[in-house]
Symmetry: C2
Subunit: 283 residues, 2 copies
């Protein structure tokens, strides 16, 4: 089997995975919502680099979108996605319908509490991380991979999923992969497609603000609150319409920091016209 | 390997299970809180009957007990439990410490909502089914069995776990096994050990009330509310101190029924002195 197998049902997915398992192969899962870009491709490559058979999924999960969010507008383009996966040497893609994923009411939810979900996107997207944790738990249980690959671009999501896997003793390793950026620094995101040419230029300010803030707070030089306020001002000046948060947090617990004394992350979310952009950077 | 292997850590459990897997065997898990009786033994037998290697666990899970419940008083007797499991031809018993099960704060919870948890024990034991679903999910992910065996004695718990496995697509079949009763009809329960000789006699009234009610409501002959009220009165007259509920419910959704027209279950919980007893019966 050298070409991409496209499966639509859980039973076909399990059958396709079992064939590779029977041949002694390990499985690396790459859950996505489609509208694939080089960030997603790097996750497939990450699986190949570790010797895993890459299994991608494409599912725009309704339960992780709020009522006023962009579920219906979210970019979809299956043929293009399949071509990118095939070119990346992905072996299986699971592209289920909503009915296949949720054949009846989903009464069971997986919730990660504590500081990991309390801050950053948590208050702005109520129910989002519960939707993510639940659907990723389902996908992992469907494909039973050895490893699941997720981008650091969605850093809070990555920490939620790592904690879920650890707390529920899932027999899966959650692997975080570096954010892939455009040459000018903008983090790749399916939502970048929403941006007008002018907004695309303004969007750059987010990465620049993150780099500036990371240099400012490193080794406790500047208080986090000072750097956060300056970054927020710089984003507004650059043409962002609203800054939801710009926060220096502990790299593991995501608890807000006053001073940087250990591993930290700076994460930001801001609105540019109708588009909500997020990004983050290690300190 | 013909004797019982006693394992205390997740890694030892996984290693012991992997040996049987490598030999082509399927695994049947029997999660328990110890204080084993013939009901538990029947679950081990159920696994053997289906050709599974029986793997039991003994863990008195603190997160499924309320603050005023009997966690510290719950009967514990490991040596006796191990002897019963060995005699029943169980192959592995996982008996972890609280620290092994919960090495850090358990921030992730599994919740089953809807009618399955709204009624019966739900309102009387807030947090109980979340504690049960979360710890059983953990245990199933630790041992990765083909099947998990649970008694119908805890009928609501069984429905919660079936729903959890279905909703989260766990690659595990949840098998319900018939309640094992004493010769006089009392459902076997570890909590029966709490009963004085006199209470033990009075306890019989619960099974009798269930049988009487099942005959009354069958085929819609008597309205459920009438049978429920009569049963409640009979339990109080027999010396029960408080009847928490005595309810005719849909066998699958556990939603209360006014008339029996399809598969139904009658479930009851009542207090006898300091002991809380539950039982249920098919209609």
């Amino acid at each position: 089997m050298t070409s991409l197998a496209i499966v639509r049902t859980v039973s076909d997915l399990r059958r396709a995975v079992a064939e590779y398992r029977a041949a002694g192969r390990t499985i690396g899962m790459v859950p996505t919502m489609g509208a694939l870009h080089e960030g997603h491709v790097s996750l497939v490559k990450g699986a190949l680099d570790r010797g895993d058979v890459p299994v991608a999924s494409i599912f725009v999960n309704p339960t992780q979108f709020g009522p006023n969010e962009d579920f219906s507008a979210y970019p979809r383009g299956e043929a293009d996605d399949f071509a990118k996966l095939e070119a990346a040497h992905c072996r299986i893609v699971f592209a289920p319908s909503v009915e296949e994923m949720y054949p009846g009411p989903q009464l069971t939810t997986v919730t990660v509490g504590g500081s990991i979900t309390e801050g950053l996107c948590g208050p702005f997207r109520p129910g989002h991380f519960q939707g993510v944790a639940t659907v990723v738990c389902k996908l992992l249980m469907m494909a039973t991979p050895d490893r699941g690959y997720f981008g650091e671009k969605d850093y809070q999501q990555l920490q939620v999923l790592k904690r879920m896997a650890r707390d529920l003793n899932l027999p899966v390793e959650i692997v975080g992969m570096p954010t892939i950026r455009e040459p000018d620094g903008l983090a790749m995101s399916s939502r970048n497609r929403y941006l007008s040419a002018e907004e695309r230029q303004r969007a750059l300010a987010m990465y620049r603000a993150l780099v500036t803030a990371a240099n400012a707070v490193r080794d406790g030089r500047t208080a986090c609150a000072t750097a956060e306020a300056e970054a927020t001002q710089s984003l507004l000046k650059a043409g962002f319409d609203k800054v939801e948060y710009f926060s220096v947090v502990d790299a593991n617990t995501l608890a807000p920091l006053a001073k940087v004394t250990g591993p930290a992350r700076i994460a930001a979310a801001a609105r540019l016209g109708r588009t909500r952009l997020i990004d983050n950077i290690a300190v």
